[in-house]
């Protein structure tokens, strides 16, 4: 009996707590289990498998016996609100497997090809310079998040989708609720409904007066009978929400991390080589891994992996930050080294569900990191590091504000 109790108490808690002194590091208990996957207790008391090893993550995320179907019993929901609202969530790229997933994803991929994103680079550069001009002309200190990190991705996704930027306050608010870990079911449903109503109306406008943007493309598909209006609304909502917080947090948190590593910041500030900048972006993506609460999956069949057996019906959580700090894949992972080979990181996940907007994110980050520190060489924190408030409660990791001075 005593032994059972001991075994019980030894089950680690997930997601665990980060060390306040090392806010960029994943929680220590995820890295110190000595094996690439283990069971841990989550908010609802269940004990899904937590996959932390980089190689094991690749196996799991490309295994057809592993599903994203959140309607299956035993699925490890990230929050209570997500669990309670599951029946309200239609099929999207996030919860569809196999042929359904391919069908939906291929309606969304065209605007995000590498070449189309590369064509946006001059516009991204222009917006970045304008936002920096405005920050430098305004009060000093300033909050980098509101001055640059949020408006830049917001402007770009609006431009791409054909959503009026004037409305960004409205959908930024609802997009934020969508990724907040402690949002109630009511809050998250109300947010989705408000956003859905707005986008449906916009799609109807684009059916009558199409422009050269993604919503007009969806509107044309609706007109041609290839897509239902509610489904088009949903596709648009996914793109709008996903395009916001993720890049924004990379800009803010990346700056915080670079300010703590002045030699690395110097490398980025002085290089003229786009390949060095591109590599730096990959390393910062690895080091920071914004989607930090884990990719949620469920096993459809028994799976043997790394000496363990995941049973059919077991929940699986792939901890991307832990995989990106696996010393087998990245020696001395705690060291931010902008010159290391880091392109095999999992910051955009892995497998068929890998991030759709990753080429947009890469170019946004390449432009910002190669512009901000060069244009503002005296940039530094305006508060003590200890005063920064980290977003442990959000699906996307980051800091709420980054007060900077120059």
């Amino acid at each position: 009996m005593a032994e059972t109790e001991t075994a019980e108490t030894r089950v680690p808690e997930y997601p665990g707590v980060r060390d306040g002194q090392c806010p960029f590091a994943p929680p220590a208990e995820l890295l110190e289990q000595g094996k690439p996957l283990f069971q841990a207790r989550i908010w609802d008391g269940s004990t899904p498998w937590i996959v932390t090893g980089h190689a094991a993550q690749r196996e799991i995320l490309s295994d057809p016996r592993v599903s994203v179907n959140e309607k299956l019993p035993g699925f490890p929901y990230p929050t209570q609100a997500m669990a309670e609202t599951v029946d309200h969530r239609p099929l999207t790229i996030f919860n569809a497997d196999g042929a359904d997933h391919v069908r939906i994803r291929r309606m969304m991929t065209a605007p995000f090809t590498r070449n189309r994103m590369e064509k946006l680079r001059p516009a991204i550069q222009e917006f970045t310079d304008e936002l920096i001009d405005r920050m430098l002309a305004g009060p000093n200190p300033a909050d980098l998040t509101t001055a640059l990190s949020l408006p830049l991705p917001s402007l770009m996704i609006c431009e791409l989708l054909g959503v009026p930027y004037a409305d960004h306050g409205f959908f930024q608010e609802h997009a934020t609720v969508a990724v907040k870990r402690d949002a109630t079911a009511e809050e998250s449903l109300a947010g989705m409904q408000a956003l859905g109503g707005y986008l449906t109306q916009l799609l109807q406008t684009k059916m009558a007066e199409p422009g050269n943007d993604v919503l007009s493309d969806f509107a044309a598909r609706v007109k041609a009978g290839e897509l239902e209006l509610p489904d088009a609304t949903l596709l648009a909502m996914v793109l709008l929400i996903a395009g916001h917080e993720t890049s924004a947090n990379m800009i803010t948190l990346g700056t915080a991390a670079l300010l703590e590593n002045p030699d690395q910041l110097e490398l980025l500030r002085t290089t003229e080589d786009p390949a060095v900048v591109a590599n730096a972006v990959e390393e910062l993506l690895r080091y920071l891994t914004i989607p930090h609460l884990g990719q949620r999956r469920i096993a459809l069949e028994d799976i043997e992996i790394a000496g363990e057996t995941i049973r059919a019906g077991d929940g699986i959580i792939v901890s991307l930050p832990a995989g990106n700090w696996d010393p087998e894949a990245f020696p001395e992972p705690e060291r931010l080294d902008l010159t290391r080979a880091a392109r095999h990181h999992h910051a955009f996940a892995w497998g068929a569900h890998q991030c759709l907007g990753q080429q947009l994110a890469r170019i946004e980050l390449q432009v910002v990191y190669s512009t901000l520190y060069r244009r503002v060489p005296t940039l530094r924190l305006a508060v003590d590091r200890d005063e920064l408030e980290f977003k442990g409660d959000s699906l996307a990791y980051g800091v709420y504000e980054l007060p900077v001075t120059w």
Binding site: A110, R114, A352
Partner: protein, 64 residues
């Protein structure tokens, strides 16, 4: 070096184009991989191997 791509598996992440833009492209209509050169010259071998390694859908295979 001979390259084979699997369009069915491809998820249009664009990773192969970043790694080896002389060898891979994406279809305009849905971003699916287009193989520009199935027998690339040896000087591109490193880039092609990198492309295969970073493809999240494992849609690129190389036959030596």
């Amino acid at each position: 070096m001979k390259i084979v791509v699997d369009e069915e598996k491809c998820v249009a992440a664009g990773q192969c184009v970043v790694a080896a833009m002389d060898v891979f492209d994406q279809r305009d209509e849905d971003g699916i991989v287009v193989l520009l050169n199935e027998n690339p010259p040896p000087r591109l071998a490193g880039d092609v191997r990198q492309a295969a390694a970073v493809c999240p859908a494992l849609a690129i295979s190389i036959e030596d």
